[in-house]
């Protein structure tokens, strides 16, 4: 009888326990949801170079604190960053490939392209420099020499081959030479399909040449004992970054307001000054151009004043 009672007691208490557990789990989820709903979550699709350099880690906490927002950074190649935004999985992009940017804007998925800053690319390679490009100021000429040495089996060039901004620039330099090298036929040309850090490491291993942005180079320099900067300063090696908002008409559920806040902050005096103050090994990595109109024009933003005026007029 007592045992029977015990069973009777157990059954409802088990159900009760189950209910309490379920309520607790739902409660925790709801609380999480509540917490995150308090904050505006902004998804920024950007390139590996901005992220790897540490710039975003430097800037974003300041923005997040000021606007009670949370910026989720997806750091991939420019091509993929834009693809992600096009599919409605990001609120804005910070990228660097003029061609892809214009395609993005022309497709009407991206709106209000504005220049933010620039950094520069450098050609790095082995100390021994078998292609003899050290000191050249013409990147195209340097590429021609690398290809020549490569054809003779004396040099290797590693390409990102990931449709990143860096990769697009590299391809455009080959194009100037009327070349489209491929790993398939030219063994000196390696298509890595990887990020900048990986490619730098591979170049260091293989004592190969590659094109890199200066920021990532400086971040990894200490580990890259076989490599050094060989060519820099050519105009085509300047690397302008643009912000583009995802069109809210295409994806009304995205956080357009948050994206606008972030973009406005990046091109504000405050954001621009912070960008200029970000240094690595004593070097300024990114030079702000949002409000330096003549430089912005030169770097491929002919409508910079108009766009800045538009952003300044917005009130999210």
């Amino acid at each position: 009888m007592a045992k029977h009672n015990g069973d009777e007691m157990k059954k409802p208490s088990k159900i009760l326990m189950g209910i309490i557990l379920a309520v607790a789990i739902i409660g925790v989820f709801a609380y999480e949801q509540y917490l995150s709903s308090q904050k505006s979550i902004i998804v920024l699709a950007t390139t590996t170079s901005t992220y790897d350099s540490g710039l975003l880690d430097y800037l974003m906490p300041k923005f997040e604190a000021k606007y009670n927002a949370e910026v989720h950074i997806i750091s991939v190649g420019t091509g993929q960053a834009i693809e992600i935004a096009k599919r409605g999985n990001a609120d804005l992009v910070l990228v660097h490939s003029r061609k892809l940017e214009l395609e993005f804007v022309n497709s009407t998925y991206g709106i209000h392209r504005v220049g933010v800053m620039y950094n520069d690319f450098i050609i790095i390679g082995p100390e021994s420099d078998p292609a003899g490009i050290y000191g050249l100021t013409n990147a195209t000429e340097a590429f021609r020499k690398i290809a020549e040495a490569g054809a003779k089996g004396n040099a290797t060039f590693i390409s990102r081959a990931d449709r990143s901004g860096t990769n697009m620039l590299e391809l455009s330099i080959w194009q100037r030479l009327g070349m489209a090298p491929s790993n398939k036929t030219q063994r000196w040309y390696w298509e890595a399909g990887a990020g900048m850090g990986t490619v730098l490491r591979m170049a260091n291993e293989k004592k190969a040449y590659t094109l890199t942005d200066r920021a990532t180079w400086l971040s990894f320099k200490n580990q890259l004992t076989n490599l050094k900067v060989l060519v820099e300063g050519d105009l085509i090696l300047l690397n302008p970054y643009a912000i583009i908002l995802v069109n809210p008409e295409k994806y009304p559920k995205r956080n357009y307001k948050g994206a606008l806040q972030l973009a406005k902050w990046m091109i504000s005096e405050e954001g621009q000054n912070l960008i200029a103050s970000f240094k690595k090994e004593g070097e300024t990595l990114f030079k702000p151009i949002a409000r330096v109109f003549n430089e912005a024009h030169k770097l491929g933003f002919p409508e910079q004043e108009k766009e800045i005026a538009w952003y300044d007029a917005q009130n999210p």
């Binding site: 991939v76 190649g77 091509g79 993929q80 693809e83 081959a161 990931d162 449709r163 491929s182 790993n183 398939k184 390696w190 298509e191 890595a192 399909g193 990887a194 591979m202 260091n204 291993e205 293989k206 004592k207 004992t225 076989n226």
Partner: protein
């Protein structure tokens, strides 16, 4: 033109995958099957405590290595073959050879482990009956191995299945260089990142059908084993 390059690259990738994983498993079998057989025999000779202890320790170690995370293997091989590493002078990093070595380290414990338990499970009954019927020790051992051959074959198929679908290790040691060290799995990673979903899906379908063929073979082998 574009179309033909598409299929040419897929063929190149598929063949490299088969070459790398096939070679790794072949060498792995040559190493793993004898060791696994030996260890399998070891257990039913283990009358003495010391041998028992060794047996238990060995088994635990092998079982641990059977679950070796491929990325960890990749990392270790990378550090071995990196330019400043102990084997850097061989210049093997970012070559198919480095990928084969990576997968070899992965598949040997699998082959040893499965072979060992196959030989172990055929064990006493067969051996003792053979001995009681007047067979010599060598004849009995040979009989056990014959009986365990389904298990040995299983170990090889399982190892190949693991190798062909592995991605983390060969990504690190092969470098995923196009037309050179890009396999089905690493290509899927890259093509997905690039948004080339048609390519990624085609490669995925090839990989999936390989997995199916492997499982089909495994099932047939095991059914045959059960029928006897």
């Amino acid at each position: 033109m574009v179309e033909s390059t598409f299929w040419e690259e897929i063929l190149n990738i598929t063949l490299l995958s088969l070459r790398v994983s096939g070679t790794a498993v072949l060498i792995g079998a040559l190493i793993g099957v004898p060791i696994g057989t030996f260890l399998g025999f070891l257990q039913f000779r283990g009358k003495r405590t010391l041998i028992r202890l060794v047996d238990v320790m060995l088994k635990s170690v092998i079982n641990t290595f059977m679950g070796l995370p491929p990325v960890v293997v990749g990392l270790v091989v990378y550090l071995l073959f990196t330019a400043s590493g102990p084997l850097g002078w061989l210049g093997l990093l970012y070559t198919p050879t480095a990928m084969i070595i990576t997968q070899l380290i992965m598949v040997v414990p699998i082959i040893i482990g499965v072979t060992m338990s196959a030989v172990g499970s055929v064990e006493k009954a067969v051996r003792e009956r053979a001995l009681s019927l007047g067979a010599t020790e060598t004849q009995a051992a040979w009989l056990v191995l014959r009986e365990a051959r389904i298990g040995v074959l299983t170990s090889i198929i399982v190892a190949f299945g693991a190798a062909i679908s592995e991605v983390g290790g060969i990504m690190i040691t092969g470098g995923n260089v196009r037309w050179w060290t890009r396999t089905l799995t690493t290509a899927i990673v890259v093509e997905t990142e690039l948004g080339n979903f048609s390519m990624a899906l085609t490669l995925g379908a090839i990989l999936l059908s390989m997995a199916f063929i492997i499982n089909l073979a495994l099932t047939i082998v095991q059914l045959k084993g059960a029928r006897r």
